[in-house]
Amino acid sequence: MTIRVLIVDAKAERSRALDQALVEAGFEVMTTVDESEDLYTVMERLQPDAVIVDAALPSRDTLEHLGQLGRRFPKPMIMLAEEETPELTQQAAQAGVSAYVVDSVMPALVRSMINVAVTSFEAHRALKGELTRTQESLAQRRAIDRAKALIMENRTCGEDAAYQYLRTTAMNRRMTIHELAQELLAATGKKS
């Protein structure tokens, strides 16, 4: 039996590579969708045996609900793996891969599928020089700190005044502080 996989990912290049790797490993990839699609309709229509989803997408919680709705919907990997493959689940979590699988898929096939996804995600990260999830939030904080320092320097003001400036400007321009910080740093040629 061929395992029919749905990919949920917003990064087109990465999901194309994953699609190819899965097919080479003997899986059937039904399609790739991103968050803007209605997952309830997609899941009802396609009834995949497994879903591989970028762990950074908040839509995981929708897949959790679907998993609660009945046997025909895939369940979170952490529930299926039980104690058999804790290392693999941990590895997947660190690589940013989440998976949902129906009960009937053989554990060996689940392992193989997860391995393919973890390898594919890590190859993409290495290629693109992307940050891991923890590094991302740290980088975000640093960008804001540096933007604040920049304002304090340019306007010879204190930290609170710099924050007020960021806040007011972000508000007027309907941006978040992080977006504004990135823009300020880009404008002055400093790397965010």
């Binding site: 919680d61 929708t62 793996a81």
Partner: protein, 402 residues
């Protein structure tokens, strides 16, 4: 600093705690940024997760030491119905209230046209919604679609309680989905959703953009509604009791700081945005975190939240019992379960009292209270004098016995 010297040193000096990018992660962010954890000898880094499922996985895999959690998560994880069976417990509630129910402008207009009661109180609102549902059924229109944030969430059970109070059957009369908070507003705009129950800032955001109408908040449905908790694995709590106690002290101090003044609330909003924890426009976060003393000035102030007043942080058995009863009501939890034993395992007022006594806070003497019996402020006896409590009324006047 010297005051903390009398406590046993924490077994762990470095911790990673999980949170979601939400206003009510404020106690964790404040404890880190204002030095309340450092004063306890703890070096804490916060890991911002993007979904409750992701946070649950990280807890169950042991990648986090503790986390901001949905109130039902320790119980669901211990039972093995949410992810892998992993005993978890909570000894501290982070906040009360904070959610609201928002409907699309189109649905609100229909409710106004059909409701013969004023749409200002939650029971009348739910009854007006029932009339809209009946009319749609007669006209052969598809059922309305409402969303909440996670299967085991307060949002789901507050929404269902509100619907049922208005005579609506949540299973048959409409379609209930789970949609991540950041996507709710856009789905409301696109017509994929007719309404939702979510925490701030996602209600104010919809109303501010003219896309939705905020009907009522958690406190309008249940005056004492418990929201997020701080949870840890049971095995972790047994292995690192002094670390756990130090974290609880740091959080208690952060929560007290948050409820001390309007200026502190504003400062917390600043820390959430400028710290890079929450990527939302600062004024929206500030409005949502506004001090209750200010927020009460607005009509109803849906989405208002408490971090310390009215014994917010005490982990009441009766809070978890109410939610567990709601789960049983809708068939989400078996009815033949030894619920009391489970609650005693996952909810730990004994650990709360130790940490509270360490810093001289008065704790409630009982582990449960009657929910729904108080229309106005009341006083509760405590270990160090009386505690001022808030109204805890349910929208339908129901009383949930201790």
């Amino acid at each position: 600093m010297s005051a903390t010297r009398e406590f046993p040193a924490p077994e762990l000096a470095r911790l990673t705690l999980g949170m979601l990018p939400l206003n009510d992660a404020a106690p964790l962010v404040v404890a880190v940024e204002e030095g309340f954890f450092a004063a306890e000898g703890l070096e804490v880094s916060l890991s911002v997760e993007s979904s409750w499922a992701g946070l649950r996985d990280a807890m169950q895999l042991g990648l986090l030491d503790g986390a901001q959690m949905l109130a039902l998560m320790p119980l669901s994880s211990t039972l093995g119905i949410d992810g892998r069976r992993t005993p978890m417990l909570s000894a501290l509630t982070l906040n009360l209230g904070g959610n609201a129910i928002t409907v699309s402008q189109a649905l609100h207009a229909q409710m106004q046209a059909l409701g013969d009661e004023a749409l200002t109180e939650p029971l009348g609102q739910a009854r007006a919604l029932k009339r809209v549902i009946e009319q749609r059924r007669l006209a052969g229109e598809p059922p309305l679609r409402f969303a909440n944030v996670y299967p085991f969430s307060s949002h789901r059970y507050l929404l269902r309680y509100w619907l049922a109070a208005g005579g609506i059957d949540p299973e048959r009369d409409l379609e209930l989905r789970v949609v991540p908070p950041p996507l709710m507003v856009s789905q409301l705009e696109a017509g994929g959703l007719d309404g939702y129950c979510v925490g701030e800032p996602w209600n104010r955001l919809a109303q501010g953009r003219g896309l939705g109408h905020v009907l009522c908040g958690s406190f309008d449905i249940w005056g004492a509604s418990q929201e997020k908790v701080f949870g840890v694995r049971e095995a972790w709590a047994e292995r690192y009791p002094d670390t756990h106690r130090a974290v609880l002290r740091g959080l208690l101090r952060a929560c007290a700081w948050l409820d001390r003044s309007a200026a502190n609330r504003q400062r917390a909003a600043h820390l959430l945005c400028v710290g890079g924890y929450l990527d939302v426009a600062p004024q929206v976060v500030e409005q949502g975190l506004r001090h209750l003393a200010d927020a009460r000035g607005e009509k109803g102030a849906p989405g208002a939240t408490l971090f310390q007043r009215h014994a917010t942080n005490f982990p009441w058995y009766s809070h978890t019992r109410w939610y567990a009863n709601q789960m049983q009501r809708w068939g989400h939890l078996p009815g033949d379960l030894d619920l009391e034993a489970l609650i005693a395992r996952c909810v730990r007022p004994d650990l709360y009292r130790q940490a509270a006594a360490d810093i001289g806070l008065s704790s409630p003497l009982d582990d449960s209270k009657t929910e729904g019996a108080h229309d106005r402020e009341w006083s509760l006896p405590g270990t160090r004098g009386g505690i001022d409590m808030g109204p805890d009324r349910f929208l339908d006047g129901g009383v949930f016995g201790a």
